[in-house]
Symmetry: C2
Subunit: 399 residues, 2 copies
């Protein structure tokens, strides 16, 4: 019997992603889950995928099943180069690295950039999957203060003055977990800061295409292209099970990401990259994206309305213009983890917000609610149940 | 402009996989490549894949495109559990971790096991992709001496007495790069050693199904199950572009591999895992594997015959019973890298063997030849050309 003494020192820093553990618990029948961060299966373009299968078999034949470049399948790199132009990101296909989900991009970045004890600046709260990717490399996290408009540029500025930060990690549009977006003015301020301080920024942007109202915001990549690694994903606009992510990275970062990826997985599935290339090239995304939005927009509206209808005073929540999440902040005395256990007993699951903070004492009164997996009526029922569980914590004004 | 100063310390240990760089050079038209380590595209079961596409869409529908367990798609874990029984490996489906190619398994193992300076024992020569996966974690490699029957148990024993080895990495059947197989007696000796010394052994076995003659050898996993992580791949018996690998690992290794994989890529493509599950479950592998062997066996025989016909005295080569490679050893004064450049000028590429040794001074007189990518006539032409290039290095007896 092998003992845990065989493990590397870094392995102590790896712990199960709390959300994935929660998701195992909540998959039992009858549970209404607001816990997932996953797209609705009925958002997947199943008929289109049938068609893409045929196109790929015909167009690429056996080459879609052969080993391929670590950098990525060339037609997909080209298709993404065109797709990104609509976001005003001008990237040649050879500036793009395809990764196995955006997780694969974050892993490669952690691997090439982070030595033990290096500082990485993250939002408070931040995306948990990024921490899972970076933790094996043993960084020290510093938290950037945030409000309803995303990070406070002054907080970032202060942190960069105080610590030699290796890079900043932001999810500035419809953030996971809060749904919040960094305002245009702050994007410009952040771009100024990273240019002035020559700091690397990793901009993780899986949700920006899921916009239900309001005007598009420019990626920070467009404002400081030489300082930003832009990380994207097709998981929310095509299908997550295909594991297609990508990064647009300035040199020398791009080159080293490719070297790291040789060790990580050699390359991402050629077949899935070919399906993705045809999805973009064939105009299927343009056709299908409005369908996804048509599915999610009323769900988000239903949840926002339900929160307004049922939740007691003393609670506030984000009102995102898109994405997959709403962030609820309760009164300071709220123990959202206790609420989670009570809610699961009543058949409703969500993720306590504390898991999204690198400071173990932060965010105890917060909750992440996902609305993509259920219809409006189900969401209303779930929010009503939740409101009953949290009622005792509402402010005095409620009674 | 970002400078390389931003890179982590470990990144200096990452270098481009020499073979992948060579493969870029040799992809030009007219080149006969013996350099690849890749399956022939006509070995891919294209008609079966068509059928599998339909089966997966019908049987699993949208769940084949959704996020899935980090451990692996359950039907594939079950199918592999049955498949492995034929190799006398008895693994429940929950002892199996699906990875993105065997590369993904080696990466997860390196991540959880190797601290900087830890000793890892490898064959001399060894599989380059394993070094690419482990290098970021900065191990010290110790080379186990080998002969025509694989590693010398006495050499391994001596190394384990001298160094605190974290694990041993072996590719004991139709090894990449030599094509050699560890004999049954040595498998038993190695199993005894790892059991006695309680050392972990990583047994990488991508080629054993490609057997052209002789009797199957038991995986070392069957002889010391508690000490061996068995790593497998469907790349050579299905399609490499689907990136399906797997590991059967004793606890606590398996559990920690799953945690590492959460950070590496969350999970392997659900769709591709579903295709693989149906390939195994539907009896397609049993039907298709003889086709692959029917394709490769005459190619290997042609290359062995050509070597005998054309190569000068002073050269010897492996005569493997299967796999994808033949290993040529020239006289001590042979500079195989110089031969490589001369051969490429004449339209033939191969991989100089020195790249497969962790000792930078070893293997200068060796060459790895692949025979899966060309028919017998083409292989004969290539070997004849090579023989002309190496002729000046042949022993005196030749002239």
């Amino acid at each position: 019997m092998l003992s845990e003494a065989i493990l590397a020192e870094r392995t102590r820093n790896m712990s199960a992603n709390a959300i994935r553990e929660i998701l195992k618990v909540v998959s039992k029948p009858g549970m209404i889950s607001l816990a997932g961060g996953i797209p609705a299966p009925d958002s997947f373009p199943m008929e289109i995928i049938q068609e893409l299968n045929g196109r790929v078999m015909h167009k690429y034949a056996s080459s879609a099943f052969q080993y391929d470049r670590t950098e990525g399948f060339e037609p997909l790199c080209e298709a993404l180069s065109v797709y990104l132009q609509k976001k005003m990101i001008h990237a040649d296909s050879d500036e793009i690295v395809i990764t196995s989900g955006s997780q694969g991009a974050l892993m490669a970045l952690g691997m090439i950039l982070v030595s033990k004890g290096d500082f990485v600046a993250v939002e408070a709260p931040t995306y948990l999957g990024a921490l899972t990717a970076l933790n094996p490399f043993e960084p020290k996290y510093v938290q950037i203060a945030t409000d309803d408009d995303g990070i406070l540029p002054d907080s970032l500025d202060g942190i960069l003055k105080k610590h030699p930060v290796k890079f900043i990690y932001l999810n500035p549009t419809f953030q996971n977990p809060t749904g919040r977006s960094l305002s245009l003015a702050r994007r410009q301020a952040v771009a100024d800061i990273v240019r002035r301080t020559q700091t690397l920024l990793v901009e993780d942007d899986p949700y920006s295409d899921l916009r239900y109202r309001g005007a598009a915001l420019p990626p920070i990549k467009t404002l400081a292209p030489g300082q930003v690694v832009y990380v994207g994903s097709l998981s929310k606009i095509f299908a997550p099970g295909l594991r297609i992510g990508y990064a647009v990275a300035p040199e020398p970062i791009r080159r080293w990401m490719v070297l790291a990826k040789q060790g990580i997985d050699l390359h991402t599935s050629t077949f899935n990259q070919a399906l993705a290339a045809e999805y973009l090239f064939g105009g299927y995304l343009d056709k299908h994206l409005p369908e996804i939005i048509r599915l999610y927009k009323p769900r988000q509206e239903a949840m926002l309305a339900s929160l307004g209808r049922h939740f007691p005073p003393g609670f506030r929540w984000s009102k995102p213009e898109g994405g997959m999440f709403i962030w609820v902040e309760g009164p300071k005395n709220l123990d959202a983890e206790a609420v989670y256990h009570l809610a699961v007993e009543k058949g409703v699951a969500f993720v306590p917000g504390k898991f999204f903070f690198t400071d173990p004492n932060a965010g105890k009164e917060t909750m992440r609610l996902n609305y993509t997996m259920s219809d409006g009526l189900t969401l209303d029922k779930a929010v009503k149940t939740l409101s009953q569980v949290v009622a005792p914590f509402g402010s005095k004004a409620a009674s």
